[in-house]
Structures are given as structure tokens and as C-alpha cells.
Symmetry: C2
Subunit: 461 residues, 2 copies
């Protein structure tokens, strides 16, 4: 690998210059005003893929922003890796909190500051350069590579899901490699192997046709806020934190001993964690650590509630309605639609006949995703990390959802390896987003190793 | 009484003309724009009291609108009745729903339409005329009378409470007579002997210093909406409707058999009642009828709740705060401050240590009020009603609060008799407020009888 690492080293200056140009494009997907910048960034991505030596580089039109695709399929009999990333960025507001302009990349103290430096242009760029180093040095890759870069990740990837379903053949692969996450710390390389899914619903309780005077009617009829509270309390045990919807845990893949041992190695300072968010105490499902509860256990949470008089002062009203938004974070192998149905059946069963209960399900549910720890791509990523960082990675489970990962798993029948090189203090979605130069260098090398390791791992597997 | 009833009869035309002039004054207390009308109405009230033959007629300035006072204290050794009413009215909006202008009194089908026709100018006017009939015919009253008419009832009587406390001697009396309520139906004369009190509080549950991402933190910490729901459910039993705050019912004066028999005679069509408000079913404290629950039993109600994301669509937020406004309607002999303290102690005790709970008490609490059924004033009112309406009154308990009645009871140590001549379809606080002419005539006669009956009842008692 000396030749490839040598190429990466000797072209650092040139790469930086290219990355600066990439980051200068304000490819904000949230605002219509930046449509031409989006297109500029898509064209620039094409240019980088071509320069890397990929074939069939092209844009795919969608209802929204274009997808950029490229491939190198010259390794017959070898596995195929699909690399995913995004060229769009978050809006930079509030602008006055940036020390230097968000779209004028600046290096200070070994850190590259710019919107998109870590999320995700700076990270997807590492893949382009690892591929380039291989192809320029060896004229071939050790395996087949497909690259798909989207421009709508920051607005929820509205077009990519349909594209995956329609282009299963184009995107067919054995593993998906994504660098759009963090490491747990500067010297704590991490691989995320699990994401939670989500189902989101809204309940409305109605007791009467209009608000009533609490003096003239108080005591006569059910109070919809009280009834809604009863339903919410019936969904989660106040003592154990267990979700009480019958069947809720049935499909949950339990944590293995090995996984619990792995998660226990993820650095986590409980006191600092609680102090940072201003919580008095942790709370959640009994029998699990905080990281396990966030990453490996499903939850039931009320996201919002409203009803009756909420202004200043006093109004003696018996409200007619009360509503709540609730969501459940799910883990493998829970099915969001099945869980939504269980919830609906349960609350309709327990709601008293004094009120009308309406339940609405939102459509943007997401499946949970889980990559087995013994998946060859996971082993290859761990090997590559060991070579670059000189230590074993920690295996993490994230509490959030990246719906596209579940879509890949569902439609391409392939697992994702989430090997990110960002750091917890990279200020994603915030002013002064940055990526450490040392992470950029290590990231490129790690990916270059991964391509080789996965080719071998998969062959031997 | 023939002479007095004769005077009332022969002056009907003149009285109507005076009442029309009184109702023409748009004495709306809610809007600053009508300050001069308020003063006009106060002056007109003075004029009516003087014409009735009362002495020491004058205005008392307050921080708000003036009080109008008059007295006749020539009945040595006889009891004193304090008559209370108000000259201010509700705003007339929405104006376009009035068939005739709200401040241009109009008679249609034996009904007098105008803002204030029943609430309360039209009713307090009956007292002025009953007194006038006595004094013009007999040159004396059978007992001592004091009249106090306020101009801030529709905005919660902010000045009268302090005035009562400061002017205990001026207002000293044996009974208070108020006509500011309804009869239960055209031929169902009613006397209200009980009003509920109120204590109103607000709770705020805080779990973290800011909203959190429900993916990254869901399962780690307590959800403040969930905790608030748990607290609300711990306050009222979902099955029995009983308030679960320890000591809540301790001071409640239980309903006697006689009271329950009385209340059972109050006309009440449960099906129609529920249909009118659009309720599927009644709900409340087990073991009591709907009218008992509204009039004679205390309640715990949530008046408003809010927390987290309440907009359109989906936001996967773990809220930092959740708040609720709650109030308790109280009955004799519950003390609003004591009940508020019981509530605060209880919720602070049951709130889990995962959150911060703040409880705020609003100041405008009101004591409950109850006039014993064997109070001479009650008996005199029943007698007077019997003479005019030819039947016994029903004795009712109202679920709402008239804080001033509790203030009278507390500071003047005198019971109130709530003998109103309005009807349920009078459209109080609504367009097309009216009072039936037949009720006006019967009302004046009933009050004239009452003065005589109470003088005798009290003497014989």
C-alpha cells in the first residue's frame, strides 16, 4: 500500500485546493435561492469522480436535486462496494456567529472551517481521493466500486428512496460504505453498526363539541386532557420505563453479550452527559445502560401536547379537545408499520367511551437498520482502522435514524458500514463547522485500506 | 299588599320607559371606550335610587368604576337586607347577530330585547321598583334596606372585594338579596343556595435545559410531558372520577338527604343535556347525579396543557418543558388556599426526582358559598315566590362561582339569597339578550312580597 499512501501524501496540497473549491459552493438544499449552487456542486462532484478515474460518471435527474453517479466495475469476481454521500449542506445561519465566512474555507490550528467541511462534502471527498489514489497508482481497484452522491440529504432525502427502488440493478452491491458520522473522540475510531427506526403518530381526544365553562359543566363530563394523559401513562410505565403497548418488544433483537461488552467500551461519562444537557438524572428502561437505551432499545416519547387554554393567566375552561404527537424509536427487527398498528389498536382499546379518539399516522416512518458485527465489511473496516489509527475501533449504535441506510438494506439487501471521520466537536448544523486536517488525512488512508481489506476479507470469507 | 301591587301595576308604562332609558346606556365595563357611559349609568342608577325614595344615595369612587349606594334605615328593630346588583354589561359583539340594536331596547312577542335586559340592569331595576312601590304607597319599608350597585361585575368585580372589607359597617346586614341568576324554566321559580369556589394553579415540568433530538437522546432521560401526564393522572382516578389529592374531601359538607331530594326535583333532561354539549356520555365522581356533581361536589380539571412541538407535521423532539393549568371547583366548607396547599404538597411529593416541578398559584381564588335552606331569608324568598308564581320554588346549587357572594358571607357574616328572574334562554353574554315582560312583572311583585315576608319571618324567628 506504500504506493497508494505515497500518492495521497504527495497530492495533499492539490487535494486541499480541490476541497476548498468544493466547499466554496453554497449548495444549501433547504432554500430555493441556492438551486444554481446545487447544480454547480453536482457538476463539481461529477468532475471529482471523473478525475478519480471512475467510469460512466453522470447525473440522474430526480423530482428534486440531481444525483451524481460513477462506477468502476473492472474487478471480475470481486465484491462490489457502494459508496454513499451527499453534496448538499445545511444553511449557515446564524451568520454572525461564524468566525470566518462559512463558504470561504479557512484553516486555523490544523482545522478546516467551512459549512460542509464534515457534513458531508469533506467526508465524501475522502472516498473520491482514496479511489483516485488506487486508480492513478495501480490502474485498477481491488474490487468493484459504485458511488452515489445525493443533493437532498439535509432535507430528508425525498428523492433517493424512490431512486433506490427503481434502480436496484444499477446500485446492486455487497456492502455500502458511508462516511457521514462521527468518531467518539480524537483517538477513538468508531464504526456505527445500528440505527434506530421511527414511527410517528398523532392523537386527538374530543369530549364535547365546544369548550365549556368549568363552573357550569365541571364534574359533568370527561376532560379530554385528563383522558389523553391517562392514555399516555398507559403507554409507558412510570417506574420501569417499559413501553406497555402489548407486543411492542416482540420483534426486538436482544443485545448479545458481545454487543453489551462492545458498547461498554464506548467512552461515556454519564455525569458529564447529564450535565451537558441539564438533566437531573437519567431515566429510561430499567436494566439497560444509558448508551444501550439510546442505541439498542426502542422508546415511546411524547413529542408535543396541546389542549385548552394556554395563554397568560386564568381561563376557567373545560376544553373540548386535546392532542399529542408521539413517536417510537425502533430497533431491529421492529417494523414501523406493525408497531404503529399495535399502538393504534391499543389506545383505541383503552380509551374510555366518554370521548372520541382519533389517531393519525405520519408517513415518513423509517425502518431500523443493523449490520451484523461479523459482516465482512465490518471486519474490513475494523482492519483498515487498526492500520491507520493503531487501535481497534469501538462499535457503536446510534439512537437516531438515517432512513436511507434502512432503504439500502431493504431494497439492495446489503448492509451498510458507517465509518465516519468527523469528531463530536465538529459543529454540524451549527456555526463554525470544521473538520480536523489530521482526520482528513487518516480518513483517506483508512478508506484506501478498506477497499483492499474488504476485497480480501470477502474473498476469504 | 294590594296597594303596593296596585302601584306596580299602575306605573308599568312609566317603569318601562325608565328601564328603556337605563338599557340605552352602553355601560360596557370591558372596554375603556365606554368609560363615560359607565359614568352615565352610575348617575342614572343614583337617579333611580333617589326616585325610589332611598336616603343617602351617593357614588363611592373606587380604583375602577364607581359603586352606587342608597339606604332606607327607618325600621328600628327590624332586620336589614342588602340588595346587590350591577349596572355594567357585557360587550354586545358580534353585532351582526342581533336582530335589533343591542342598546335600542325593543319588545317583540312579550320579550324585551337589549344588552343588559336580564344581566343585570333589568333585574336590579326590579328591586328599585319594589322599594319605590313600598315607599310611595306606605311611606315606609317593613325592614331596613341597603342597596349597592357595582359597575365592574362583568370584569370580575376587581374593586368590590376591597370595598366590602373596608366598609363592613356601611354594608352591615342580616341577609343579602341578589337577582342575577336564572329560574330553571318559565314556570319553575328557583332559588340558588350554593355556589362553588375555585382555586387555580399552573404546573411546569422541566427535564433538561433545552429541547433534545429524540433519536440521540430518546431513552436517556425523562420526558416532561410524560411526567406531567403521570402527575395529572395521579390527581384524579380514571375509573371513579374521585380526586386523589390526600385530604381533598376532608372539609366537604356532605349533601343531606333533604338536599338530594330537593336537587332531584330540579328539572334536568340528561340526554338533552349531553346532546346540547355534544358529549357521548356523562363522566364524573361515582355515586352522584350530574346535577349533584356540578353543584355540590368539588372537581379537579385540567384547563390547558402545552409542551414540545405543536405545529403541523413531524418534529422528532424531546421537549425540555411541559406545562398545565389546573383548577379545582370547591364546595362549602373547602378553603381554596388550603386546597391549593394540599395540591402543591401532593404533586411535589409524587413528582419523580428526574425532573424539576414548579407550581404557581393564581391569586383570584374564590371561596365557595352556601346558604342554609332554613335561613329565614331563604324561607321568606320561598314564601314570596309561592305568592307570585303559585308554586314552590326549586332549590338549586350552581357549579360556577360568584366570588362576591363568598366575600359578602366572609366579611359581612351574612348569607345571600340568589333569587333571579331570568330564564335559561335569555342569551346572557350573547347576541339578542332578552328578558320576558311577564318575568319583569312577577319579579317586582315577588321582591315586594319578600321585603314583607323577611321582616315577619325574621321577627318571628
Amino acid at each position: 500500500m506504500k504506493d497508494i499512501l505515497g500518492y495521497l501524501k504527495s497530492h495533499e496540497q492539490e487535494f486541499m485546493s480541490e476541497l476548498f473549491d468544493y466547499l466554496r459552493i453554497p449548495s444549501i438544499s433547504a432554500t430555493d435561492a441556492n438551486k444554481s449552487d446545487i447544480n454547480k456542486a453536482a457538476v463539481f462532484t461529477e468532475k471529482l469522480l471523473k478525475k478519480a478515474g471512475l467510469k460512466n460518471v453522470r447525473q440522474y435527474k430526480t423530482k428534486g436535486n440531481p444525483l451524481v453517479y460513477g462506477e468502476w466495475l473492472g474487478a471480475k469476481g470481486k465484491p462490489t462496494v457502494l459508496i454513499y454521500g451527499h453534496y448538499d449542506v445545511q444553511p449557515p445561519d446564524p451568520l454572525d456567529l461564524w468566525k470566518t465566512a462559512p463558504f470561504e474555507p479557512t484553516i486555523r490550528n490544523g482545522k478546516l472551517f467551512a459549512r460542509g467541511a464534515a457534513d458531508d462534502k469533506g467526508q465524501v471527498f475522502l472516498h473520491f481521493k482514496a479511489i483516485e489514489a488506487w486508480l492513478k497508482t495501480r490502474k485498477e481497484l481491488p474490487l468493484n466500486v459504485k458511488v452515489i452522491v445525493e443533493g437532498e440529504e439535509e432535507i430528508g432525502s425525498p428523492s433517493l428512496g424512490a431512486f433506490i427502488r427503481q434502480q436496484k440493478k444499477l446500485l446492486k452491491c455487497d456492502a455500502i460504505l458511508i462516511s457521514d458520522t462521527n468518531m467518539e473522540g480524537t483517538n477513538i475510531p468508531s464504526i456505527c453498526y445500528s440505527l434506530r427506526g421511527l414511527t410517528y403518530l398523532e392523537m386527538k381526544v374530543t369530549s364535547t363539541k365546544g369548550d365549556l365553562h368549568s363552573g357550569m359543566f365541571g364534574g359533568a363530563v370527561a376532560n379530554p386532557i385528563q383522558v389523553l394523559s391517562e392514555i399516555l401513562v398507559a403507554c409507558k410505565d412510570p417506574k420501569t420505563g417499559k413501553v406497555k403497548i402489548p407486543g411492542f418488544y416482540k420483534d426486538v433483537l436482544p443485545l448479545t453479550k458481545r454487543e453489551r461488552a462492545n458498547l461498554a467500551r464506548v467512552p461515556h461519562d454519564e455525569k458529564k452527559f447529564l450535565r451537558d444537557i441539564g438533566a437531573r438524572k437519567a431515566f429510561g428502561e430499567k436494566g439497560y445502560t444509558t448508551l444501550e437505551r439510546i442505541g439498542a432499545r426502542p422508546t415511546f416519547e411524547v413529542n408535543g401536547i396541546w389542549g385548552g387554554f394556554t395563554g397568560e393567566g386564568v381561563k376557567t375552561v373545560l376544553p373540548a379537545h386535546a392532542s399529542a404527537k408521539v413517536s417510537m424509536r425502533l430497533v431491529a427487527n421492529q417494523d414501523p408499520n406493525k408497531i404503529a398498528r399495535l399502538f393504534m389498536n391499543y389506545v383505541k382499546k383503552i380509551a374510555p367511551d366518554t370521548v372520541k379518539l382519533e389517531v393519525k399516522m405520519y408517513e415518513n416512518n423509517g425502518d431500523p437498520a443493523l449490520t451484523p458485527l461479523d459482516f465482512p465489511g465490518m471486519k474490513a473496516a475494523a482492519n483498515a482502522i487498526r492500520k491507520t489509527f493503531g487501535k481497534d475501533p469501538v462499535f457503536t449504535r446510534e439512537g437516531g435514524s438515517i432512513p436511507i441506510v434502512a432503504d439500502f438494506q431493504k431494497h439492495l439487501k446489503a448492509y451498510s458500514v458507517l465509518m465516519g471521520f468527523g469528531l463530536p466537536d465538529d459543529n454540524l448544523h451549527a456555526p463554525n463547522e470544521k473538520m480536523n486536517i489530521s482526520q482528513i488525512k487518516k480518513g483517506m488512508a483508512t478508506i484506501a485500506y478498506f477497499l483492499d481489506d474488504y476485497a480480501q476479507m470477502s474473498a476469504s470469507g
